[in-house]
Amino acid sequence: MTSHGWITTTMIMLPLIAAVVLWVVPMPRVWVAPAALLVSLFEVGFWIEALVRYDFDRGGLQEWNHATWLKDLGVSYSVGFYQGFSIWLVGLTTIVMAASTAYGYWMRRDRPRAYYGLMLFLTGAIVGVFTAQDLLLFYIFWEAMLIPLYVLIGAWGGPGRLNATIKFVIYTMVGSLLMLAAVIVYGLQAGTFSMIDGGTNASDWIFLGFAAAFVVKAPLFPFHGWLPDAYRESPAEVSAVLSGVISKAAAFGFLRICFSLFPAGVQDFRTPILVLAAIGLVYGSLLAFRAPDIRGVVAYSSLAQLGLIVLGLFATNNLGIDGAVLQMVNHGLISAVLFLLAGAVERRAATGRFESLGGMAKGRPALATVLMATGIIALAVPGSGAFAGEFAILAGVFQQGWLYAVVGAVAIVLAAMYVLRMISGVLHARKGPAVHDNALDLRPAELAILVPLIGILLFLSAWPAAITDRVLG
């Protein structure tokens, strides 16, 4: 095992081990949540260390940690940060997971040992997905990431959680199994499962196997059947993770695996994927405009945003890809904040439906400011980080065909419509029947969770080049 690159392994193993410790070692219940939060904050700290260590000018694979695992099959434990974008996505993961864990603590989730163990396990698995350099290892982390989600939705979700879980399981299983088949075929052909040594493969079928998993997980229209239910029925912080981080794993998969291993497949299927992404962009925006509740709006807008991100990736030029990576981070943070806010509103009004909400701005300045600020960034007002991302994406995809950019521009107008509808549905106009006068403003604890996320969004608005300049290399 190479000695450098300990930080990558640490970032994967620390939460996994902590999860097992939480499950196995008996400890007083009150300690569980603080311990989990502490571990997730350590993850953020390690990420900052990794960010400092990573040399963006040199690029490539750094902090590489490698050990042979199954020699005969060519499988190895091989993890590291491959190019700038994996640094950013790991950062997004650690930050959103820390915020979600803190939010779970604030909400006092029952059965804490199981709950926080699963959250930590999830953290480790996602970091593994973003750093794995071996396809079989990638697949293992991918599956490991989905299992805690099944349980988190199924056990801690809302009233319709069983249906939501079933749909989620069926969809993701189908995608994952196709990916497993593709992984095996690729590995047998290449003689190794390593993403670094394996070389490219021209087979369209293998590409499609991977694409199936990513397209379902993102999701891309029309593979989003699991999305509305899962996002509505999960606990708020799990929805935040689902749409903030897990969906980015799919986009990451396209970027890391499909682009570097299957350039021929990307070439062959670029147009159909671009078309699906463009349809998804408009379709998601339209349905978000009609959704009756906050989570519905955020869920369908996620569908639209993922369409946009895939547009940027499959523009297959640096402009689009840089914008897409920036947009991944932006959207991850935005949807996390919005889902947590949806949870906060639901906690106060016991519903997220617009017909019973409204008028919450009066006397609740913190809630109004936070929701307004996030919403404004979400609708990509010029000058925001999301605007920078969308601008680069659409400028990139414009070079593949002007029609995609026109569709994107229409979607920008639609985004303004649905976000403003959501903001005024919650905050403005007459006080809704579910809003009580004594419903509190955001509490300091909630602000402590949300404000750092918004702070990062504002930072990215002031300086989007921080990410776009450090994506590939």
Partner: protein, 626 residues
């Protein structure tokens, strides 16, 4: 010069951040002072920069200052930079000068409002956005300022967010502006593809080599943004609704910021428009059509602010006409004096509304001249300036645009004729409003709610003094430039926007005489009908009251189809296909499971028999295959 320009830009932003962060720990009035001082400071910084620039030779007055690289993606790089040149200097002075007066006026107008802090934070943000728009050193930062102006207008129009109509108006303004942003963004994508940059100098220098199709598309995209922001045909419908905001906000939107941005954009990107002359003519045509339409609609409005709002639309139409025929300096001149007298009119109307406890309907007003003589004087100055009566400021600016149109080809002369009709309408609707509000007998409403004088000295000072300053500016502001004799504005803007067209002295004289005559005629007709009551006011036409049915048209064309499409997609695709397919898979699995359930009898002996039978079959098969 750069330091002063940056200070000018960042001071208002700083005050927004400061007020937001301090929140409830400062008094409401302190928030107002922070905002006022920051805007006044921005004006002072602009003056400093102006003096420095004045000291340089005309060729050396343009300076680009980049703070850092804002966005770098692929080969495309764009910096956070500001361009300080005569044009942006001109706009900086207007924006911060008029803007800080309006903010100071708000100190009195908004005094006692529950959410004064939020209001002043938004006002500073608005001034910052507009400054970013005019100072932005490349097209992307122009667009960013552009979008932030739309955002600020959304926030301020919807300031009274408990009123559904205000929220709806704010959303409408934002979405129509977003539409303009989108067309501009598309034009920029095209420019990035063809020239690889969004820097002004690079784009302008490479524009020559682009094909005519590309140039027309780019110019159309820019024009789309301009008409959306400046509320010109066909994207004008948000402006009257925007009157839902507090009155100083209307003044800010109409005078110092926002709606003039379209004119600025055309002047700023004039090298692109000149390469696509048909689009530039289209801009002039749209402006002219708008000035006529807005003038007609203003005749039947009953809300005092809406009358003024339509007059803005009409005046911006004149500016578009000027910019469209290439009389850039004249358009900018009108922009400046319009800022003076329009701010004056709005703030004067604000005093009336404030005094009458929020009443805005002119049919319930009347006879206010005796009760509010100073306000009457201010409004009269504003009205005369708006109607273009010499020697007030509007005359000098508007007539120079009309003269330039007279100097052009046949198309321009048609526009000139329409502009003259517009001048008549301007006199008519302006003085209809003034006579109805101030003239005649006191109305029942006014008798019941007599205007109350404020007791707070600061309130009176902040509102009175600012209006007085604006009245002076509206009176004398036009004397800066007298066509044919004395043209400092044209000379000042020459390095950035060289006029395509210049009127001869005789054309100036003809245009002035005709337009003053018809303007005075309009005032006379207004006096005849609304003051002397020699003629009964004609019944307003339904088509005017419905603002030419644009709202209905757009609802029918865009809003309802979008809603219907979303609904249809929900019913046909999302429900049965996307959602149904997965439910179908689950159901199929369940039914299959039901069939196989019968095998699970729960009797252990049956299982054992199945095992034994299976074994037997295997053995038989084994033997048979051997």
């Amino acid at each position: 010069m750069n330091a002063a320009a940056w200070t000018c830009l960042l001071l208002p932003l700083g005050s927004t951040v400061l007020i937001t962060l301090l929140g409830g720990s400062i008094s409401r009035r302190a928030a107002g002072w922070i905002s006022t001082v920051s805007c006044a400071g921005a004006f002072a910084a602009a003056v400093v920069a102006f003096v420095v620039m004045l000291g340089r030779s005309p060729d050396d007055r343009s300076e680009l200052s980049t703070a850092y690289t804002w966005l770098a993606a692929g080969n495309f790089k764009v910096g956070f930079s500001i361009l300080t040149d005569p044009l942006s200097m001109f706009m900086m002075l207007v924006v911060t000068g008029v803007g800080s007066l309006i903010v100071a006026y708000s100190l009195g107008y908004m005094d006692g409002d529950d959410e004064e802090r939020r209001y002043f934070a938004y006002m500073s943000l608005f001034v910052f956005s507009m400054l970013l728009l005019v100072q932005g050193g490349n097209l992307l930062f122009l667009l960013i300022g552009w979008g932030l102006v739309g955002l600020s207008s959304y926030l301020l129009i919807g300031f009274h967010h408990e009123r559904p109509s205000a929220v709806a108006a704010a959303k409408k303004a934002f979405i129509m502006n977003a539409f303009g942003d989108a067309t501009m963004a598309l034009a920029f994508f095209l420019l990035i593809q063809k020239t690889g940059s969004l820097d002004f100098d690079v784009v302008f220098s490479r524009a020559d080599g682009l094909s005519q199709t590309v140039l027309v598309l780019v110019a159309l995209g820019l024009l789309g943004g301009a008409v959306a922001k400046s509320a010109q045909l066909p994207l004008q419908t948000w402006l009257p609704d925007a009157m839902e905001g507090p009155t100083p906000v209307s003044a800010l939107i109409h005078a110092a910021t926002m709606v003039t941005a379209g004119v600025y954009l055309i002047v700023r990107t004039n090298p692109l428009f000149e390469l696509a002359p048909h689009v530039q003519e289209l801009a002039a045509g749209l402006g002219t059509a708008t000035l006529l339409m807005a003038g007609l609609i203003a005749l039947v409005q009953t809300d005092i602010k809406r009358v003024i709002a339509y007059s803005t639309m009409s005046q911006i139409g004149y500016m578009f006409l000027g910019a469209g025929i290439g009389a850039y300096a004249n358009a900018m001149f009108l922009l400046m004096v319009h800022a003076f007298f329009k701010a004056l009119l709005f703030l004067g109307a604000g005093i009336v509304i404030h005094a009458l406890g929020g009443e805005q309907d002119i049919r319930r007003m009347g006879g206010l001249r005796k009760l509010m003589p100073k306000t009457w004087l201010a409004m009269l100055i504003g009205g005369l300036a708006l109607a273009g009566i010499p020697p007030l400021s509007g005359f000098f600016a508007k007539d120079s645009i009309l003269a330039a149109a007279l100097a052009g080809d046949t198309y321009d002369r048609v526009l000139f004729a329409v502009g003259i009709v517009g001048a008549f309408l301007t006199g008519l609707y302006t003085f209809r409003m003034l006579f109805v509000v101030f003239g005649g007998e006191q109305s029942a409403y006014v008798r019941e709610h007599p205007p109350h004088a404020g007791h707070d000295r600061l309130v009176n000072w902040s509102m009175g003094l600012t209006v007085a300053v604006l009245a002076v500016l509206a009176t004398f502001g036009g004397w800066i430039q007298f066509a044919g004799v004395w043209t400092p504005i044209t000379d000042w803007l020459e390095p950035v926007a060289k006029p395509l067209i210049e009127a001869t002295n005789s054309q100036e004289a003809v245009a002035s005489i005709i337009s003053v005559a018809v303007g005075a005629l309009g005032i006379g007709v207004a006096w005849w009908i609304y003051s002397a009551h020699r003629m009964k006011a004609p019944r307003p036409w339904a088509v005017l009251e419905h603002k030419f049915y644009f709202d209905e048209l757009y609802n029918g064309l865009f809003y309802w189809p979008a809603v219907a499409l979303a609904r249809i997609l929900d019913w046909t695709v999302e429900g049965p296909i996307v959602n149904g397919s997965i439910v179908g898979v689950a159901g199929l699995t369940r039914r299959t499971g039901d069939w196989f359930r019968a095998l699970q009898t729960g009797l252990v002996r049956v299982y054992a028999f199945a095992l034994a039978a299976g074994l037997a079959v295997l053995v038989l098969v084994f033997i048979a295959v051997r």
